[in-house]
Symmetry: C2
Subunit: 188 residues, 2 copies
Amino acid sequence: MNTRHDANWDERALLLLGVLMIQSQHGYQINDFIERCGVTTMKKPTAYALLDRLAAAELITVETEQAGNRPPRKVYTITTAGRTLFQQLLTRTLATADTPIAQGDIGLMFLNHLPHEVALQQLQQRLADLDQQLADRAHTHLPPDHGHLGIDLVLEHQQARLQADRDWLAATIARLTNGVEALMTPQR
Amino acid sequence: MNTRHDANWDERALLLLGVLMIQSQHGYQINDFIERCGVTTMKKPTAYALLDRLAAAELITVETEQAGNRPPRKVYTITTAGRTLFQQLLTRTLATADTPIAQGDIGLMFLNHLPHEVALQQLQQRLADLDQQLADRAHTHLPPDHGHLGIDLVLEHQQARLQADRDWLAATIARLTNGVEALMTPQR
DNA sequence: ATCTGTATAGTCAAACATGACTATATCGAG
DNA sequence: CTCGATATAGTCATGTTTGACTATACAGAT
């Protein structure tokens, strides 16, 4: 019936269903994975809310499990319908490229409203920030199932993007330093 | 008082204030600019809501203007306080790089849940999508104030990212075609 | 005259997202 | 034995976001 959702819903549902494709898990594990893997900004309460909606749509089931005298856990398990949807979402998602929108570009757009040397100074700072991020990703804090193909691909892709951003920014700073005129005659 | 906002608020406020730094504008113009410039996914009602909040904080003023017997327009104008905040937000934004999160990476993560040849086929499709986007950006539909430094920078940056994505994806498809083993011994 | 397209200017109900908060259990350090 | 850290498992009030919708005015085509 109500299969009208936005792209955001698709991606997030895909993530949760994907996590449950690995194995049935309880809330803490799921949220832990989400926080660590770094492919989304979705927060804990949002994940719980979505899990509820997925359960309501019978794409997953919820069972309460009691281990020792710890607080009871809710264990989420993907259903057959969930697996089917997972396949569909995965196939569709892999086939389409999202238009890359960089938050930071909003600042770039109004660069001219700042004194030239101030703007350059801030961009230097951004470049340092970028270099820091590139350095940090040496010691990534990922779950111990490393060697998993998908995760390696994501890490590579993130690194490639970071590097592209860094290269472009460095080149841009250089051009801006040589005066704005250089921008009007780009050698592309 | 309540200066506790998230990064999202910062960027969006910066965009609206920046638009009003160019000149005072009415709602339609503002939203038109936002849609065309392609640096955010913020929708019209969201922009109006934010404009109301900015007005309540006295960062902008609103005047109703009657032109002919057309429907009345609300003209938004940035205040001195608004200009000050704009400078602050702009400076801060320029100095920090956002961690690049690619929606599409969620799909990548679960690549192994699809038959190898199906996955490759979908990625080919994604590559074609990317090439299409690169081709489309030849005839960009931007406002006629082209030559404006900031806009040119943003376009360049978007292109650089798109190109990086394309290159990485093409290389990855090639590696996956040659069998997964190649991934385990990357020549980096 | 009428129709179509589009510039114009928003509103609203409903869904969504999250910071802050509440609790209990286990374990190693001191 | 106590304290802090952290694994565990969420909830809720509050604010945010948006799809869908409502309207009027004008210009050019038919």
